[in-house]
C-alpha cells in the first residue's frame, strides 16, 4: 500500500467503513448513496486512482461502473485506457475559478487535503448532479 495511504487508512475506514484498497491500478473503492431523483441506481461503487506522487500530486477525477445513469448525462469517458475496463472516468477536478489547483496537502495526513476530504468532495459533487 502507498505509504501515505497507509498513514491515512485508519481514519479513512472510520469515515468510509466500506473502503477497500486494490492494485493494478492502485486505487481505493467505496460505495456511495446517490440522489434517486438524479441517478439510477441509487447506490454506486466509486473508485479513486492513487497517483504515484500522492499526496504531493492529488487525485484527478473518479471512476464509476459503466451503467450508472444520471439525468442530463454523466460527464464521463470510458476508462478502459486507464486499466479500468467496465468503468467510466468522471471529470472532477480540484480547481478554482482561474483553473488553479486547490489541492493543498500537508505533511500531516490529518491536515490539509487527503482521501477523506476527496471522497467527501465526490459525494458533494454527485449530490449536486455533477455541477
Amino acid at each position: 500500500m502507498h505509504p501515505r495511504l497507509a498513514a491515512e487508512w485508519a481514519d479513512l475506514v472510520v469515515a468510509y467503513p466500506g473502503v477497500t484498497h486494490h492494485e493494478q491500478p492502485d486505487r481505493i473503492e467505496t460505495d456511495l448513496d446517490l440522489d434517486v431523483n438524479l441517478f439510477t441506481p441509487a447506490r454506486t461503487r466509486v473508485a479513486v486512482l492513487i497517483p504515484p506522487g500522492y499526496p504531493t500530486t492529488g487525485p484527478d477525477g473518479f471512476l464509476v461502473p459503466a451503467g450508472l445513469v444520471m439525468t442530463g448525462g454523466l460527464p464521463a469517458s470510458d476508462a478502459t485506457g486507464a486499466g479500468m475496463a467496465g468503468w467510466m472516468l468522471v471529470s472532477f477536478h480540484m480547481f478554482d475559478g482561474n483553473g488553479q489547483s486547490t489541492w493543498r496537502p500537508t505533511a500531516d495526513p490529518r491536515r490539509g487535503d487527503n482521501f477523506i476530504g476527496y471522497l467527501c468532495s465526490i459525494e458533494n459533487f454527485l449530490a449536486r448532479g455533477c455541477n
Binding site: 506522487g53 476508462a79 485506457g81 471529470s91 489547483s101 505533511a107 491536515r111
Partner: protein
C-alpha cells in the same frame, strides 16, 4: 552493515551523547533499511530522567527502556543503541562487559521490535565502533556521512587524510593547488548520478570527468537527434545519424578522460534498477526538463538521505524583443529545505508528468491536457547554469566553502541572485519521507514493474 546519517545528525548525536562526559551518555537511533543498508531516521538522547547508576557507570532505566522501545515499535523502525566511552581518546572499542551483554540485549530488542534491525555504537571523543545483529549473527556496523564534506565532523574517519598516487598528483596538480590533496581525493571517491543527459546533463558529465570523478550512474533513454547537436556536449553528427543513445555518448565522453571509470547506464529514471542505484550514490544531479522527474528525485533524496542538486533552465521568447533567459540551481541537503519547501516545484505540472499514459490520453481527448510543446534552448545559458551547479558540487565535495542551496541567474539583468529558502515543517514531499528508506516505496514510480 553500513549506517548512513546526515552530517548534521552525526555531529549532533556525537556531541549530545558525549555531553554527559565524564559520565557515559546514551541514545536510541531509530533506523530504517535502505537497499541493504540502514538509514538514521531520528534519534533520542537519554536524559537524566532515563538513566540510573549501575556498577559499571549508568544504565537505561527498565521502564524507560520499555517505553522508548514501544515508541520505536509503534513507528515501525529498527534501533541502534548508542553509548559513549568518554575516556577513550584515540581508538574506542566495546568493553568486555558490553561484549558479554550485547548478544542477549540484541535478542531482547529484536524480539520486542518484531525482528527489526538492531545495532550498537560506542562513541569515543575521536572515534567510534559498531556492531550489527543481522539474521546471520553479529557483524561490523560502520557509519557513512551523507552531506557536505565541510560539515562532516572532525572525529569522523572519512575526514582522515587520503593520499593521491604520483600520477594522479601530476595529472591534477593545478586542481590540488586549489582544492588540496584531500579535496582531489574526495572527488575521486565520489559516486555521482546524473539524471538527464541533454543540454545541461552532458556538460555536467563532461566537467565531472575533467575534475576527476570516476564513478557514475548516467540516466537517459533518449537518442541523439540532429536538433540536440547545438547543445549536447560530446555528441557528433554521426551520433545523430545513427540515433545513438545519449547515455552512450556520455559514457564515451567519460571514458576518454577516465578510462577506468565505473559507469552504470540503467536507462530511464522510472525503472526499479535506476531508482535503486540513485538511492545509493553520494550525489544526484538532476538535469531534467519536467517537474514529475523533480518530484521523484526530491522524494528519493529525502527518503534515502541522498544530496540532490537540481538544474533548471528557462528561455522564453514572447516575440517583439521580449526575451527572458535564465535558470536556477537548487541544492537539497537532507533534511532540507527541499525543492517543494522552496516553492520550486509545480505540483500540477508534476501530476501531469507522472500520470499514467492511458489516463493522459483520456484527458487529451476531453480537452483537459495537451501534448508538450518544444521549449526554446541555447547552449551558453545552459553553460552558465552548469557552471553555477559545478561550483556548488565542488563546494559540496571538497569543503572549500559551504554550499549555497538556492541561486538564480538572470541573463537580462546579468545577475546571479542568491535565494533564501526555509524548511517547511508541513512540506508534504520531504517531511513524511525523510529517512524512511525502503518504507517510502520509491519503486512505485517504476514503470517496468507495472508493465511486467
Amino acid at each position: 552493515m553500513e549506517l548512513i546519517a546526515t552530517t548534521r545528525d552525526l555531529a549532533d548525536l556525537h556531541r549530545d551523547v558525549l555531553a554527559r562526559s565524564p559520565a557515559e551518555g546514551g541514545a536510541f537511533v531509530a533506523v530504517e533499511p535502505s537497499y541493504g543498508r540502514l538509514l538514521a531516521h531520528s534519534f533520542r538522547i537519554f536524559g537524566d530522567e532515563d538513566l540510573e547508576p549501575d556498577s559499571y557507570g549508568v544504565d537505561l532505566k527498565e521502564d524507560r527502556k520499555v517505553a522508548l522501545l514501544a515508541e520505536i515499535k509503534r513507528s515501525g523502525h529498527g534501533v541502534v543503541d548508542v553509548h559513549s566511552h568518554p575516556f577513550s581518546v584515540a581508538r574506542v572499542g566495546f568493553s568486555a562487559f558490553d561484549l558479554a551483554e550485547l548478544p542477549d540485549y540484541a535478542r531482547y530488542v529484536r524480539l520486542k521490535l518484531g525482528n527489526k534491525p538492531f545495532g550498537s555504537l560506542v562513541f569515543g571523543k575521536k572515534s567510534y565502533a559498531g556492531l550489527y545483529w543481522g539474521a546471520d549473527g553479529p557483524e561490523a556496523l560502520t557509519l557513512k556521512a551523507s552531506g557536505e564534506f565541510a560539515s562532516i565532523p572532525s572525529w569522523f574517519p572519512n575526514r582522515a587524510r587520503t593520499r593521491l598516487s604520483a600520477s594522479e598528483r601530476a595529472l591534477y596538480d593545478r586542481q590540488v593547488l586549489a582544492l588540496g590533496i584531500q579535496g582531489q581525493a574526495r572527488l575521486a571517491k565520489l559516486q555521482v548520478a546524473v539524471v538527464g543527459l541533454g543540454g545541461t546533463g552532458s556538460q555536467i558529465v563532461q566537467q565531472l570527468s575533467h575534475l576527476g570523478v570516476r564513478s557514475f550512474v548516467l540516466l537517459d533513454d533518449d537518442v541523439v537527434e540532429p536538433s540536440n547537436l547545438p547543445r549536447l556536449a560530446g555528441a557528433s553528427r554521426a551520433d545523430a545519424r545513427v540515433r545513438r543513445l545519449k547515455d552512450q555518448v556520455a559514457q564515451r565522453m567519460v571514458r576518454r578522460l577516465q578510462p577506468a571509470a565505473t559507469i552504470e547506464c540503467p536507462g530511464t529514471l522510472r525503472r526499479t534498477r535506476s531508482l535503486e542505484l540513485l538511492a545509493k550514490v553520494d550525489l544526484v544531479v538532476g538535469c531534467v526538463d519536467n517537474d514529475g522527474a523533480r518530484l521523484i528525485l526530491s522524494e528519493l533524496a529525502a527518503a534515502h538521505l541522498v544530496p540532490y542538486v537540481d538544474l533548471g533552465v528557462s528561455v522564453e521568447n514572447a516575440g517583439r524583443g521580449q526575451l527572458g533567459m535564465g535558470g536556477r540551481v537548487a541544492f537539497y541537503l537532507p533534511p532540507g529545505p527541499c525543492l517543494a519547501c522552496a516553492d520550486e516545484l509545480d505540483f500540477a505540472e508534476a501530476a501531469e508528468d507522472l500520470e499514467a499514459e492511458g489516463l493522459r490520453q483520456i484527458r487529451i481527448q476531453r480537452g483537459y491536457a495537451s501534448d508538450r510543446r518544444v521549449e526554446a534552448a541555447v547552449m551558453p545559458i545552459n553553460t552558465v547554469i552548469v557552471g553555477l551547479a559545478m561550483g556548488e558540487i565542488l563546494a559540496f565535495a571538497t569543503g572549500v566553502r559551504p554550499v549555497v542551496p538556492f541561486q538564480r541567474y538572470d541573463f537580462q539583468l546579468q545577475r546571479v541572485i542568491r535565494g533564501a529558502a526555509h524548511r517547511n515543517d508541513q512540506c508534504p514531499l520531504c517531511i513524511p519521507s525523510l529517512g524512511m528508506g525502503d518504507r517510502q516505496q520509491i519503486a512505485r514510480y517504476a514503470l517496468d514493474d507495472a508493465a511486467s
